[in-house]
């Protein structure tokens, strides 16, 4: 090896490149053996490379263009090697067992309390900004400076108006505008348009200020006809959403004061009206616009198309209105955009059968105008063809076609309705029981940035609940458990319905031995106080006989469940015993030969006023016979007689035949027999 190395060295030393020399020096100064290997391999490569051009005909060696890497390329490559950790909780939380949320309500509570801590800090930062002015950061980080909440410019001027519009103070801006007009200074059309935009966007209310609690009281007084909300901010947000366009509000008043409203002013007004529900007014404003011989812009048309289904009743009338608007759009040479397409599709959802026939032509026309579909368009398309609750009539191929188009692509948020796509698609998969498409939908979630389009926590919960229900129904238990372990509880906290579906799936696949593990998960998720879930669990355990190990684990589980039923620590009763649940529990204990525990449980029948069934007592008697405890057998008969069960005589007979009784016991039994005979 050394000789060949030296030979190759001599051969190449004349045409050795700088790289080779460096390589040689490095390897021979550091480690000997490894260096020799790399050197020889690099010699081999070089020799091959050198030989090749000589062998082949003089071809052009195309040197590829130098690739430029972004600054984060290495970090991105490293990040792509790390997958999600299924044992960790969400990134927001601390990595500690005491601080990890175990149920979905804890998840919400912890994330909200962290958020409220941040808001408290922001309140202090914005109230005392002078302590936070010193700037250490180079370059300057603007988001870490205190916010200026108070308007700086005090004098009545246009600049002050612009400032207040920028700070989103609706009432202050309107007041300032009125002051300006009274003082006689004219406000330019641009600034007035901005003011109109502000008022129409917020519907003449101030946006909810979170850090200033005293303003909230003023606004609840201002808004009339609103029911007195005891809840505070939650009710306030929904009030804002349902806020309607009031009759004589500032937007219309200021609009009327304008001498020459232009397209932008009309556009702001129409969009505000549509947003807050004044649909017919929007259309009348549009006719005013046409009468003033102005052209509308694309946003106006989008708003009008959204409003079209609200003003007409019949399906074809709605469609005709939309077609009319689109034709006017073409006449005025306004180019439609993605939001136009989405508005048309959303309106078609409310058009019944017309929607189904017109959806594809609309899409092909828009594609001809080179508008790319977003996830919202696909979501509307799916909703047009798959109405919730309607019977499926062989339309499964539409979902497949949509998935074919969408798979492998990464989408960016372009429309607020994009977040509905995944939930709608999963609902359709659940209704049509299509497992393959469900997997494709879930795969799409992993592509690129699509995870952002899953929506907030509530929507995420719905998506995963549907996915899990589908899995429980369609897949076998091993696949189901693999998904379960992957997603629960790091991404999703199942509800009690989903846990019931899981139990059904276990039952179908005959894996009832996994029940004790599932019970532990149920307890951890906080569903242990659901009556029907626990009763179903007990029924499944008691139904069949399994081998010894499984029965033992069932018995442990049953005793654990019993603890839940007993009074909680503050005397609060979480669950109520029923006859069925008691019998199931006792059968499970008997099957594992825990006679003493079962005997204690039997006493509970009396205390909770429930009646045991005949077969339960028969089973008990069989178990007692195996152990040969005569006293207990007699007591059993006494209990049965105490409940006046119809099966008492048979029980007495069995005891008399199968057990060796003392005189006293025989006499007692015959008394009971006569008693029961008389009572019948």
């Amino acid at each position: 090896m050394a000789s060949s190395c030296s030979q190759a060295l001599r051969h190449h030393v004349c045409k050795s490149s700088r790289l080779l020399r460096v390589h040689l020096q490095k390897s021979w100064t550091n480690r000997s053996f490894e260096g020799a290997v790399c050197v020889s391999s690099s010699f081999a490569l070089n020799s091959a490379a050198d030989q090749q051009p000589a062998v082949s005909s003089p071809e052009e060696i195309v040197i590829p263009k130098k690739k430029t890497w972004s600054k984060e390329a290495v970090l991105q490559a490293l990040a792509s090697t790390v997958k999600r950790d299924p044992t960790a909780s969400d990134y927001r939380f601390q990595d500690d067992p005491y601080l990890t949320p175990k149920t979905s309500s804890e998840f919400k509570l912890f994330s909200l309390s962290q958020e409220s801590g941040r808001n408290a800090a922001k309140y202090f930062i914005n109230t005392y900004p002078k302590y936070f002015q010193k700037d250490y950061a180079q370059p300057h980080i603007p988001c870490l400076m205190p916010d200026t909440l108070e308007a700086q410019i005090e004098e009545v001027s246009e600049a002050a108006l612009i400032e207040r519009i920028g700070m989103r103070k609706v009432k202050a801006a309107v007041d300032l505008y009125d002051q300006l007009l009274q003082a006689g200074t004219s406000v330019s059309l641009d600034v007035t348009n901005q003011l109109l935009d502000l008022i129409c966007f917020y519907g003449d209310h101030d946006p909810a200020q979170e850090n200033v609690p005293e303003q909230r009281n003023e606004e609840t007084e201002d808004v009339q006809d609103e029911p007195q909300a005891k809840k505070g901010r939650a009710a306030k947000a929904s009030d804002l959403l349902k806020a309607t366009w009031k009759e004589k509000n500032n937007a219309e008043r200021i609009f009327a004061l304008l001498s020459e409203p232009n397209t932008h002013s009309y556009s702001a007004l129409i969009r505000g009206m549509v947003k807050y529900g004044a649909y017919s007014k929007a259309f009348s404003t549009y006719t005013d616009l046409l009468n003033s011989r102005l052209k509308a812009d694309v946003h106006t048309f989008n708003a009008l198309i959204t409003a079209a289904p609200e003003v007409k009743e019949k399906y074809n009338e709605k469609w005709e209105l939309i077609v009319d608007l689109l034709k006017q759009m073409a006449e005025q040479k306004v180019k439609p955009n993605l939001l136009t397409l989405n508005a048309v599709l959303k309106a078609l959802r409310r058009c019944g059968t017309v929607g189904k026939s017109q959806a594809f032509p609309v899409i092909s026309e828009m594609k001809a105008l080179s508008i790319d579909l977003s996830l919202a368009s696909y979501s509307h398309l799916l909703a047009i063809f798959y109405k919730p609750g309607a019977p499926i009539q062989g339309q499964t191929d539409i979902l497949q076609e949509v998935m074919n188009e969408v798979s492998g692509k990464s989408f960016t948020p372009q429309d607020p309705d994009d977040a509905q796509f995944f939930i709608t698609a999963m609902r359709i998969c659940l209704d049509t029981k299509d497992m393959e498409q469900a997997y494709r939908v879930h795969e799409l979630l992993g592509v690129g940035e699509n995870w952002r389009l899953l929506g907030n926590d509530f929507q995420q919960n719905i998506y995963y609940a549907r996915f899990f229900s589908l899995l429980c129904m369609m897949e076998n238990i091993d696949v189901m458990l693999k998904w379960y372990r992957d997603l629960v509880p790091s991404v999703y906290y199942p509800s009690s319905n989903v846990m019931r579906d899981l139990l059904q799936a276990l039952d179908t696949d005959n894996r009832l031995d996994l029940i004790p593990q599932i019970w532990k998960d149920i307890k951890q998720l906080g569903h242990a106080n659901r009556q029907n879930l626990v009763e179903e669990l007990l029924t499944l355990m008691a139904r069949e006989k399994h081998n010894q190990e499984v029965q033992e684990s069932f018995a442990e589980c049953a005793l654990d469940i019993k603890k839940i039923y007993d009074t909680g620590d503050r005397g609060k009763v979480l669950l109520n015993w029923t006859a069925g649940s008691l019998s199931d529990l006792i059968s499970v204990l008997l099957a594992a030969h825990r006679r003493q525990d079962a005997w204690d449980m039997l006493k509970l029948f009396k205390t909770h006023n429930r009646v045991p069934s005949e077969e339960l007592l028969n089973k008990f008697l069989m178990c007692v016979k195996e152990d040969g405890d005569v006293n207990q057998a007699v007591e059993l008969v006494q209990i049965s007689a105490g409940f006046c069960l119809p099966g008492t005589p048979k029980l007495i007979q069995r005891v008399q035949q199968e057990f060796e009784l003392t005189e006293q016991q025989r006499k007692m039994l015959s008394d009971l027999e006569i008693q029961s005979f008389n009572s019948e």
Binding site: F93, Q94, D95, D96, Y98, L99, P101, E106, L109, F110, S111, S113, Q114, E115, S116, G117, R118, A120, A121, K122, F124, I125, Y131, F132, D135, Y136, A137, I141, L144, M145, P146
Partner: protein, 167 residues
Amino acid sequence: MATSLVRQTKLLSIVTSQLSSAACFRNIHCTAACLKNRAARIRVAKGDKPVTYEQAYHPHHIGHRKGWLSQHTSNLQGEDGAAERVVEDVFIRRFMYGTFHGCLADEIVIKRRGNLLVICAVMIQKLLPSKFYFLIGYTEELLSHFYKCPVKIEMQTVEEKVVYKYL
């Protein structure tokens, strides 16, 4: 009276100059005495005082049996800003002690990675987790805005203070 004061200060300046020139260097002590052989040491007492691992080992054990409580690169050759880091650390420790009052089980470890300031704390499970999260969100936000750099808290909880020995 003014003349007597002037005379006294003159006397003082003469005395100090004579002292410093006379090769005996005992000067006037203006602050409280902080002896370096009594710093961060808990002396052995009756045997009923519980002491954590951090407190039990003395400063000369740092690097041998203890780690560092504050990790940054300003003490390396050619780096500056060591004094500012110290002041920041002192502020952060007092801030954490006050915000999470009674919950700290041990000293806070402060790590600086690039721009990021990581505060590692071990807490006693004295508060509900939701209250812990409130304080964590508050601290992170406030300190980020104060120091103009991202601040993260990494918290671990224990049931009670971990006692190493009794001194």
